[in-house]
Symmetry: C2
Subunit: 345 residues, 2 copies
Amino acid sequence: MSQSSDQRLGRSSVKLGRDVYISSSASVVGKKEGEGPLGLLFDMVGEDDLFGCNTWEEAESNLQKDAVYLALGKAKLKPEDVSFIFAGDLLGQSIATSFGISSYNIPLLGVYGACSTCGESLALGAMSIAGGYADKVVCVTSSHFASAEKEFRFPLEYGNQRPLSATWTVTGSGAFVLSSENADNKARARITGVTVGKIVDYGLKDSMNMGACMAPAAASTLEQHFSDWSSQPEDYDKIITGDLGTVGQTVLIDLLREKGYDISAVHMDCGIEIFDAQSQDTHAGGSGCGCSAVTLSAYILKQLEEGHWKKVLFMPTGALLSKTSFNEGQSVPGIAHAVVLEKIG
Amino acid sequence: MSQSSDQRLGRSSVKLGRDVYISSSASVVGKKEGEGPLGLLFDMVGEDDLFGCNTWEEAESNLQKDAVYLALGKAKLKPEDVSFIFAGDLLGQSIATSFGISSYNIPLLGVYGACSTCGESLALGAMSIAGGYADKVVCVTSSHFASAEKEFRFPLEYGNQRPLSATWTVTGSGAFVLSSENADNKARARITGVTVGKIVDYGLKDSMNMGACMAPAAASTLEQHFSDWSSQPEDYDKIITGDLGTVGQTVLIDLLREKGYDISAVHMDCGIEIFDAQSQDTHAGGSGCGCSAVTLSAYILKQLEEGHWKKVLFMPTGALLSKTSFNEGQSVPGIAHAVVLEKIG
């Protein structure tokens, strides 16, 4: 037990009273992601996207299992050293999580924020450590191209055409060990703050243009963050969204310009980085819970470790639709949760 | 900001360093629940289960919206007074939540633990207040008989037979305002501790016998709770599970007897209380995220307020299946999260 001096900040933010360290992390991805621009940085690349399983859902569960295994190993921890695991995915009733992590026997707090789930899990994980409730927690999220297409759009066998505004769900899982201590001075980065997002619904209904659906939520969380922290875009080396893709990026930059913030010089989107849209035919970019998670583990934390960046805002974005809500003619609301990541030292 | 003296306790528990108050709560239910033994205690009973909407999913969203509205009103709060809302439901991608609470514009932390979600939301909500991250949060969960049957089993139009081990998903939503203060001395109860559950999978595959699927998880969390808190069944006036029903209750009592704990004298199950199984033809009992939530709001908190009980353990139970995992032949793992509730003063 230790005293914390955590602070509420403005409407929606928390400034952690003590640093929370990302002790280790791991990324496991599919073949296509392995062939992309970040391919060499991932810890493990599957040879085929079934990962030796019989179903896409089992394959996605295996991604989570492997990512947690690798992250724990890198931190030299056993599952019983971990107090809680914050985990989630995109599938109905989060079954990739339920069947992926159960063998670790770690007390589970299941989270859901669509593709923003990685941000939500890191936010709650960091709060639980800074609050003195845990010394170590694991945060893990995943997505899988084939299970997601089946869950949200069409089975792959149908062979539907994809408009240019569509994104390509990343097959991958990223796991993070958060700790109250910088053990052996080997932590990758620290989490210093959190901004929790609200649901924002502009009434868009196109599940093949998720970037445009989520951009207003990203703009809302970002504007709130700047206000809560009295900060400006130039205070960050990068402001990183999860999976807006090229269409959503344009909308986000425009929306924030209307609010008086120009993020064009510092904005980066994991969905744009993870694939080479031209040669990989992924259209507007990558998406999914796994997209931001594996990019954070493989690329963003590396930049912070190597000192190329000192402080970034990591803000995964989620589209809160289901097949049922879409079929019933509902809109696609968005949400975005942000965490402040800083270089150690 | 205030200093907390929260403590980790044993493997999976948190003893809150300061009391967290349930300032107010509200329950909104369907017609059948209104006709049950607790019928007169609910705040609002719908005349028909569509609640004026066009779809079952919209109806469930409306349940959440109304429950939050009533709970905020009773606490004399506006949505902008609340820091975070912890919310979830049983539908794929939690759409009852996404379309139910968005108009409140409260920063959302989406949670998923199947029918244990009410327990998870109260646990995280209480931790966020005791940790100094928020003064007030709302926790809300829901379920709806028709949307759940469609989501997990068969559309109602199919008219399938239900075995006697099946439970009847409660149409209802319970909302709770948690606060760091006992405003006007009107708080209903206080939350003093939390035990977070693990996934427990005994390999059962019968989605028409969820009580048996979840009972091992309830036994696991309860055994862990007794160990973490060095407590015994007789330390509680009631130990209350969410929706084990009559079949699951028997299994739970037996499993714990094997571990040396006899809870038969103090055990109560919300699913058994909410319906009169004989006259209402609900078979093993009620179930769903809404079952434990509305029973807590309408009945359990009333018993604590009136001093009939001083201390109870409230432990909703969840079955972590989806239609897809069931159809693919997977088992039905369970999870249970517990919160300690005590009388004020």
